[in-house]
């Protein structure tokens, strides 16, 4: 390179910008993408157990031909400082890699996968979709990843479930959008006489949940079915319906109808528990909101006040709403399907 070229570059001021971008933006994106991929394909989990050589990893990932590509990908991990290479074996090196490799951080790992695989594309494609490009579909989501990532908020959802599940009486629960089935399981463990029907829109998710129930020894109490609540033609046998993190899978103008359908499945006096992130939360939630705005199904995250109104329009009474995370926008809504004359004065005799 000659001096003139150097001078030209210096004058354009692109070099410092490039350097700053590389430090502050590009490398983090590379690292995030690499970690998301390494988490998703199980490399982090494997290396957390013990260092492995290329052949072992190739076999594990079922890579037969292009071992060189795999090597190149792993070496980038080394360059990013997340992996180390020692004595012919790859190992975990970075703090993030080590943390994400631990099974108990699976939900965080899944959240990272969600960001890179769903949030990034929608940030790139939203304007094109707005111009009339092909909208996102349910297939653009990986149900398994979503199910894992929502584990982050699991303690908060479980707390909400604790508040509505009766502990002793025989009860029947309908869980709409059951995901992996953890919340149905939580309810079933709270009340050993509870039986449930858990449904999910996606075949594979429902199949996994059914397998989970069998593994947990709950198959005789929790039935899992692939079904759309909008088509669920059943008698009002349920005492409780739960909908965790899926109201935004329904377009805004359909929500009242969905909630009415849910109410029609409830016994008089039965309750609905709905948990969902609402608008106004952290930027990640806004991106999720954007994703649903770009999809050919679902709709934006609900506005808390608007959702309360929708529950009332759907005929629920005694609608209550509470924040599950202090200061956050993750909320629980409870409504009762109650006949107007449900009260009784017999109790007063006691």
């Amino acid at each position: 390179m000659n001096v003139a070229t150097l001078a030209k570059l210096a004058r354009s001021r692109q070099v410092p910008l490039l350097a700053s971008l590389a430090r502050g933006l590009v490398t983090p994106v590379y690292r995030a993408s690499f970690l998301a991929a390494a988490s998703g394909n199980g490399v982090l989990r494997r290396l957390a157990v013990r260092p492995c050589d290329l052949d072992t990893l190739a076999n594990a990932l079922d890579v037969r031909e292009d071992r060189d590509v795999l090597r190149a990908w792993l070496d980038i991990g080394v360059r990013l400082g997340e992996l180390g290479f020692d004595d012919g074996c790859y190992k975990l090196r970075g703090r993030a890699a080590k943390a994400l490799g631990r099974p108990r951080n699976d939900a965080i790992a899944a959240a990272l996968e969600e960001v890179t695989r769903f949030h990034l594309p929608v940030l790139l494609e939203a304007p094109a979709i707005a111009r009339g490009g092909k909208r996102l579909t349910l297939r653009d989501q990986d149900g398994a990843v979503i199910a894992r990532s929502t584990q982050v908020i699991r303690p908060f959802v479980e707390e909400a479930v604790d508040l509505v599940v009766e502990r002793h009486e025989p009860r029947r629960l309908l869980e709409v959008g059951c995901g992996s089935g953890v919340y149905a399981r939580h309810a079933a463990l709270l009340n050993p006489r509870l039986t449930a029907l858990a449904i999910d829109l996606q075949d594979d998710v429902a199949a996994d949940a059914a397998a989970n129930m069998a593994a947990w020894g709950l198959a005789d109490r929790v039935e899992v079915r692939r079904a759309d609540v909008r088509d669920l033609d059943m008698e009002p046998v349920f005492d409780l319906v739960t909908m965790h993190n899926n109201i935004y899978y329904f377009p805004t103008d359909e929500r009242v109808k969905v909630l009415e359908r849910v109410r029609s499945l409830l016994a008089p006096g039965g309750r609905l528990l709905l948990t969902t992130p609402c608008r106004g939360g952290p930027v990640g939630m806004e991106v999720l909101d954007l994703w649903f705005s770009c999809a050919d199904f679902g709709g934006p995250l609900p506005d808390a006040a608007e959702l309360v109104d929708q529950l009332r329009s759907a005929g629920f009474t005694g609608v209550r709403e509470r924040r599950l995370i202090p200061g956050g926008e993750f909320r629980a809504f409870v409504g009762t399907h109650r006949d107007p004359e449900h009260g009784t004065d017999v109790e007063e005799l006691i």
Partner: protein, 900 residues
């Protein structure tokens, strides 16, 4: 052109297609089917069978061929075949032949019955699986009835038990209808003892069909055919009979009041029947099961078939289900005295099997909840004899030895022992609760802990139980069970049984504690107050308005007041049969308003009541509100105020008792008052939560009847009446899997259950309590000369009034006149509205704390319970004196109208 040959041929053809039974050459058996063949044989033997002709299987085949239906049988569903037959006109030539034969018979009213070729063969019991149309009049109706019978070859129920490809063929009998005064059956062998030197006759007023279907009450006669003479008889109070309502429709109607208590057959008529039965038996050389009818004193035989069942070989005399050591078997005290209000009288196979479900799944929790630490072996707690459910008093009192108040067995034992039992010679074969010091301490600690917790939580639990009953009721009302698939229905039954479990366990402590506190009160009053204490404890008053059972009378009264304000509504309620009032109300504008505004809320509060609620076959008010309408009729007519009834004259002896109490030193007085208040609280909560318990039984009943409906649809049951014959365990099994219902519910088992049940129902009732075993053949019948009955004075006061025996509450409620003495076997909550207008109440069964006693005290109606035989000894119309203080009932004057 007709030649002699073709004419002869035509006659031969005609003979093969239409046969006058008992005339001409005996026709080939295969043309007639089982029923027609036997009628033909009986007629040929010169026996009095009403004239009949038979449409043979050949005629049926010709019908199929000429209408082209024969080509479409294979591969068509039975239901569709039936519809096709009903929709097809009978070709003119076939119809003409039938109507000619009908003309030859004189065109009387006829009974049209199918007679299938596969019926009654050795290995299949198809009896009754094909249809019968009674009281048919006129050509068109006859042809329709014939089609109904033909179509019945392919009813689901017939097809369900037979290889569909071998449906066989079907003949039809058209027989002159006998409008029987009395009808019934005769067995030439006693089905219970197996003795063939005894004939058993069951008879009822009206058509025998009512008896065969188990719908009406019947009289029972045991005959020695050698006399012939009547060896034993049971004359029952017969309220309803089966008879033509309008031509072509047979239904239940009331028996004239004068005929209800009278034997439906005279000794001469019985002798005539026995003589006929001997001829039939000798003709066939086999024991027979004969259907007969009596019209104007003349007997007719309607059917006879060989008795195919083997006699019951070892007739059980002990309620124990499993074999027991001799000392236990012969020394156990059994009683159905107080459990008699929920497990009453003879129970259907379904009711009994449900009682067994209770015993093995729920009773344990009930024992624990009352403070019994070790509930023992559940299989010993209850026993079953002759269709009656017994509580094992010996074993229960042995286990109750673990609880402080019942450590001394005698109080519990004497409460459940009726006068047949000599307690002086009774010794509990289980002994007393053994327990070394350690066990005793543990048991006492458990009882104490349970009792303290109970006193602390009893109101809270009662509130929860009341709230849950409305929740479960509303929920159940919103569910259309017919739309649930089998797994969903199973989930529903499981849930309801879980609720059933909770409500029984929740109820039991109130029951036991009311018993316990009453005992303490009894002891304290005896010790401190002497004579006056005895009357005090019987006069414990609880707040009227708080007693749920009494409240239901008040609510029916309120309902009657509302109805009275609208003449149109009252007109509908008063008109015609009470059974279809609800339908007519809902079809009318004002009626609809009354229904929605008043009946629906009333039924929500009270609708799950019925009588003998553990008996699942009994409909509840909400299932059949006719009793409610009967009471509305009664209350509206009398124009009295329920509040007046409740505020009956003040009893001066109450003041004496109160004064005696006030003379006691303060600590003693306060103790008695405290115990009284606890007793009152427990009784009140017991009444309140009883409704929750009753509701839980109704919830289960709903699912069982939905299963029944499906079984009828699948052809496993002939009608919903047969739900009574189901085994509850089979219902559970059917719902919990996907097994073919025909395999789960064996037809043989159903029929066996029905036969056994019907045999029990005609036997003398086993006693309310007894020690060891009870043998029906050695049962002593009460002496008829003593018109003085001693029982328990359950509610004080003396009154003289005309007796009215109430056998069937629903059918008779509107006959009851204000001030009459209500005489019945037992009462339960559903009877309360009658108490409000009764002069006195007398029951066969009951104790001081049974429902009738509590409620009669509330209404201040003199009452004697546990009179044992009142319903047998007293007749409707007799003038009786009821002395509630001494527990005596005397007939002062028999009703001359009947005896003269």
């Amino acid at each position: 052109m007709s030649t002699p040959t073709s004419a002869a041929h035509a006659t031969a053809t005609a003979n093969r297609e239409l046969v006058v039974l008992g005339a001409g050459e005996p026709p080939p058996a295969e043309l007639l089917g089982g029923k027609a063949l036997r009628l033909d044989e009986l007629l040929r033997a010169g026996l009095p069978v009403p004239p009949a002709f038979c449409l043979t299987t050949d005629l049926f085949e010709r019908f199929l061929k000429e209408t082209g239906l024969d080509a479409r049988i294979t591969g068509t569903a039975p239901a569709e075949l039936r519809e096709k037959i009903m929709a097809t006109d009978i070709p003119a030539s076939v119809a003409g032949a039938v109507l000619d034969a009908y003309g030859d018979l004189g065109r009387p009213r006829v009974a049209v019955r199918s007679s299938a070729t596969a019926e009654d063969s050795e290995s299949h019991s198809f009896a009754g699986q094909h249809d019968t149309v009674l009281d048919v009049a006129g050509d068109a109706a006859l042809l329709d009835a014939v089609k109904v019978c033909w179509a019945s070859l392919w009813t689901d129920r017939a097809a369900a038990y037979r290889d569909a490809a071998h449906a066989g063929s079907i003949a039809v009998v058209v027989q002159q209808m006998v409008h029987a005064d009395t009808g019934g059956v005769l067995f030439t062998r006693d089905p219970v003892s197996g003795r063939d030197d005894r004939f058993v006759v069951e008879g009822c007023w009206g058509l025998g069909e009512g008896l065969v279907a188990g719908k009406v009450t019947s009289d029972f006669f045991l005959l020695d055919p050698d006399g012939p003479q009547v060896v034993d008889q049971q004359i029952r109070y017969k309220v309803t009979k089966c008879a033509p309502v309008v031509p072509g429709t047979v239904g239940l109607v009331k028996v004239d009041a004068a005929a209800r208590n009278v034997p439906c057959l005279t000794p001469d008529q019985l002798a005539d029947l026995a003589a006929l039965a001997v001829r039939v038996r000798d003709h066939y050389g086999a024991e027979q099961d004969i259907e007969w009818a009596m019209r104007d004193g003349t007997p007719y035989l309607l059917q006879s078939r060989p008795i195919t069942t083997t006699p019951v070989r070892d007739r059980r005399t002990s309620p124990y289900v499993e074999p027991q050591p001799d000392a236990i078997r012969t020394g156990t005290l059994w009683s159905r005295m107080d459990i008699g209000e929920i497990f009453t009288g003879v129970m259907s196979p379904l009711g009994q099997s449900f009682a067994q479900y209770y015993q093995h799944n729920v009773h344990r929790g009930c024992a624990l909840s009352t403070g019994v630490r070790d509930p023992g072996d559940m299989s010993l707690h209850m026993g079953y004899l002759q269709g009656h459910v017994y509580l094992n008093i010996s074993y229960t009192s042995y286990l109750l030895g673990q609880c402080l108040p019942t450590r001394d067995q005698s109080r519990f034992t004497s409460r459940f022992a009726s006068e047949e039992v000599d307690l002086d010679t009774y010794e509990n074969p289980f002994g007393t609760w053994p327990g070394g010091p350690r066990e005793e301490a543990q048991a006492a600690a458990f009882w104490l802990k349970t009792s303290i917790t109970e006193l602390r939580t009893m109101k809270k639990r009662a509130r929860r139980m009341v709230r849950s009953r409305f929740y479960e009721f509303d929920r159940a009302q919103g569910i259309d069970l017919t739309r649930l698939d089998r797994p969903e229905l199973n989930a529903e039954l499981k849930r309801r049984l879980a609720y059933f479990n909770d409500m029984h366990i929740g109820y039991m402590p109130y029951y036991m504690n009311a018993f316990g506190f009453y005992g303490v009160l009894e002891a304290l009053c005896g010790a401190w107050l002497g004579q006056e204490g005895a009357s005090l404890r019987n006069r414990i008053k609880t707040d009227m308005s708080s007693l749920r059972t009494v409240e239901s009378a008040r609510e029916i009264w309120a309902l009657a007041q509302v109805a009275r304000r609208d003449p149109r509504v009252m007109e509908i309620i008063r008109a015609g049969s009470a059974h279809d009032v609800s339908t007519r109300l809902r079809a009318d504008e004002s009626g609809r308003a009354f229904w929605d505004g008043h009946m629906v809320p009333f039924l929500r509060e009270n609708g799950t009541r019925g009588h003998q609620e553990m008996e699942l076959t009994h409909p509840r008010w909400i299932d059949d509100p006719s009793y409610v309408f009967q009471m509305i009729r009664r209350y509206a007519e009398e124009g009295f105020s329920i509040d007046e009834v409740l505020d009956r004259a003040h009893d001066p002896r109450e003041d004496e008792a109160a004064q005696a109490l006030s003379r006691l030193p303060a600590p003693k007085r306060r103790t008695i008052e405290k115990v009284m208040s606890l007793y009152e609280t427990c009784s009140r909560l017991r009444e309140l939560t009883r409704m929750s318990m009753i509701t839980s039984i109704w919830l289960v009943r709903r699912v069982v009847y939905e299963v029944g409906r499906r079984l009828v649809e699948a052809g496993v049951l002939r009608s919903l009446d047969e739900v009574a014959d189901l085994d509850f365990a089979d219902v559970l099994e059917y719902l919990s899997g996907d097994r073919d219902p025909r395999r789960v519910f064996s037809r043989a088992k159903l029929e066996e259950a029905r036969r056994t049940f019907r045999a029990y129902a005609r036997l003398p009732e086993p006693p309310l309590s007894f020690v060891g075993e009870w043998d029906v053949t050695r049962a002593v019948r009460p002496a008829p000369d003593g018109v003085r009955l001693e029982g328990l004075g359950a509610s004080p006061g003396r009154i003289v009034g005309r007796a009215r025996i109430i056998e069937d509450l629903v059918w008779q409620a509107d006959e009851f006149q204000v001030g009459e003495v209500l005489v019945t076997r037992f009462t339960d909550a559903s009877w309360t509205p009658l108490f409000a207008i009764a002069g006195a109440v007398v029951t066969d069964i009951g104790s001081m704390l049974s429902h009738s006693s509590i409620v009669s005290r509330e209404f201040r109606v003199p009452s004697v319970v546990n009179s044992k035989h009142a319903t047998q000894m007293i007749k409707t119309g007799d003038l009786v004196m009821v002395d509630g203080d001494r527990g005596v009932v005397e007939v002062v004057e028999t009703d001359e109208r009947k005896n003269g």
